[in-house]
């Protein structure tokens, strides 16, 4: 155990000290921050600030529309009102459009009969300016609705109260299943695992290849067992990955909480997770990562160069991707036999068992069994990997084929 720890410590410290680690650890949160600031700016832009002219025979409608567009919920436009227009108005406005003095004009023709709506036509300077058109449409809806309600004899304060946007609180009391939250958590877990396995699982494989090419292994094998070395490498490189992800997650939580999200104007999905869900998220993430890293270690033990590794890396993520197909049956019946069996397959456990836990708590025996099975699988994969490694490093040269690998397992 001491040897595993020593190998892991060396691997961790050597990697964390590199510039590459420092840069990527800092750069990703910076990019996230940049993205959020960017979206705030873009969000500000999305509130249309165009300058338009409204031409209307109905003075009241035009000024209501002007008020809504200039100080409305989603627009801060500059609006000029011409009421009523005459035959020269259209020509004047067209030339103003050409001179870029205007972004567009809205022409309102009176309704032919009182029961019908007036006819609206908007002429933009650029047809690509969708947001202004959208703002005008929603402002018109609001104004017309308000007008209609006022006609029905409703007091204007009541009208305003009625027009308030509805907020739906998705937070639920108790531990009952919150499907949206579970869904989000599952997808976050999936993508996090996928990303980390691709990035750091591959690093485990690479570090084992590095050990082969630097030929340090012979000194190491003269004191420690290959499985100790494998386990040490996996834990060391894996911890680097977990450190980095933890930094990123912390940055993400900081960035998306409080004032910044407030500045964007909220509107995000509100995810509520219980403490239990968070604990299992961490447990299954780490176990899943270790399991897939042990496969990466085995792949690294089999090949002699990174190029060869590239050809094999699909084997690393295939089982994880396959789990995504199992999501639907598990969601429809989280305690059914299909879900129970799949959630005990070690390669699927992290995602599927976690999904079951967040939908309907399975019996603790099943959770314990799934964890035991995962640990046993990790150990078995490492054992096989270390066999392949021990024989593989001593017989350099071509990549072994399957019968050869099976034969190597018998060597000791």
């Amino acid at each position: 155990m001491r040897n595993v720890w020593l190998i892991a410590k060396r691997e961790y410290l050597e990697r964390v000290r590199t510039k590459a680690f420092l840069i990527s650890t800092i750069l990703i949160p910076l990019l996230m921050g940049g993205g959020i600031v960017g979206s705030i700016i873009a969000g500000g832009k999305a509130k249309s600030t165009s300058h338009i002219t409204v031409v209307s025979p109905d003075q009241q409608l035009a000024t209501d529309l002007q008020a809504e567009l200039e100080n409305g919920r989603d627009s801060h436009m500059t609006v000029d009102v011409i009421s009523p227009g005459n035959s020269h108005t259209r020509d004047t406005l067209d030339s103003m459009l050409a001179d870029k003095q205007l972004d567009g004009y809205l022409w309102i023709d009176p309704a032919p009969t009182p029961s019908e709506r007036p006819k609206f036509s908007y002429t933009p300077r650029s047809t690509a300016d969708i947001s202004t058109k959208g703002s005008i449409r929603s402002a018109l809806n609001t104004v017309l609705l308000r007008e209609r309600l006022a006609h029905q004899g409703m007091v204007s304060s009541d009208v305003n109260a009625m027009m308030e946007p509805v907020t739906v609180d998705t937070t639920q009391a108790g531990k009952s299943a919150d499907t949206t939250s579970s869904f989000v958590a599952i997808y976050v877990l999936f993508f996090l695992m996928y990303m980390v396995i691709m990035l750091y699982g591959m690093n485990v494989a690479r570090s084992i290849i590095e050990e082969k090419t630097s030929r340090v292994f012979e000194v190491l094998l003269a004191t420690i067992r290959p499985e100790e070395m494998m386990a040490g490498k996996m834990i060391g490189v894996g911890s680097v990955g977990i450190t980095q992800v933890a930094v990123w997650l912390a940055a993400a939580i900081l960035l998306t909480s409080g004032p910044i999200m407030g500045a964007i104007g909220g509107g995000s999905v509100h995810v509520s997770l219980s403490a239990m869900q968070i604990i299992f998220f961490v447990v299954y993430f780490i176990l899943g990562f270790m399991l897939y890293s042990s496969i990466a270690a085995a792949l690294g033990a089999m090949v002699n160069s990174e190029q060869e590794l590239q050809q094999l890396n699909m084997f690393l993520v295939m089982p994880l991707a396959a789990c995504m197909f199992a999501l639907a049956p598990v969601i429809s019946n989280p305690s059914g036999p299909v879900a129970r069996v799949i959630s005990l397959i070690p390669f699927c456990t992290p995602l599927i068992m976690y999904l079951r836990i967040s939908l309907a708590m399975p019996p603790w025996q099943e959770i314990a069994l799934s964890i035991v099975l995962m640990i046993a699988t990790i150990y078995a994969v490492l054992w096989v990997a270390s066999r392949i490694y021990r024989v593989g490093v001593l017989m350099y040269g071509k990549r072994p084929n399957l019968p050869e690998i099976l034969r190597w397992l018998k060597y000791s």
């Binding site: 190998i7 030929r215 000194v219 190491l220 003269a222 001593l394």
Partner: protein, 300 residues
Amino acid sequence: MPIVELQHVRKVYDTKVAVDDISFTIEPGTMFGLLGPNGSGKTSSIRMMIGITVPDSGTVQLFDKPFDRGSLKRVGYLPEERGLYKKMKVMDQLVFLGQLHGLDATVASKRAHVWCEKMQITEAIPKKTEELSKGMQQKIQFIAALLHDPELIIMDEPFSGLDPVNATLLQDTLIDLRQQGKAVLFSTHRMDQVEKLCDAICLIDNGRVVLSGAMREIKSRYPANRVVLHFSGDDSFLRHPSIESFKNYNGQAEIKLVENADGQGLLAEAVKHARITRFEVMEPTLEEIFISTVGDKVDA
């Protein structure tokens, strides 16, 4: 109590017989030379001694008990293919390898400093391994093998790639270690080194032992029948009956004696006729013994 004992060890890789029935023992306080041409099975034998591979048949005993990984903490190993972590600082590297051999970090670092001084590479301590010359890296690796004060030191081709000054430094260090009672095994294909250093040897060829035993004993098996004689004056003593043949290069004679002659009679005769500046009965060199044993297969 033998430190290493190999008995009828055999190892086959796929189709190639790497080691075929090798036996030898190494006693404490001896310098043991494992000799043989390239591909003769030296490295394969060494790897079985330290548990990197396991023999197909036969037994390996370390420290007078069947092989057990726990014994490896008492063994220092310098592999033929040198390897260190390139990006790692020298001191970190030595401490790491020392810790793997059971030392604690402060002891490892203290000893590493002492050894670096001894091996004259103190200036390398703060550097990264990749910044060092090959010879220096080799010395670092040499230190790494000795840091934990092993009782058995196994070195695969320790002198290859070293300049004469450093080779001597390493040689003296090995002699010191033998004096301290350690068992030292090294493999080489350079006969002159073995001749000077080793108390016992094992020569293997094609995975089989060709010649094995204490150096004195092996040499005594081959007759010392050559004499080098430097003289000035009358050369008529060269017709002495104990001489089978000779070559005389202006007073530097190389003489081959007849079988079982000991040369003393010749010396007495020569003194009567000429002034003798050198008289030496030459032992057969290992190289000569090799050639007479394995023919011209040895690529010395």
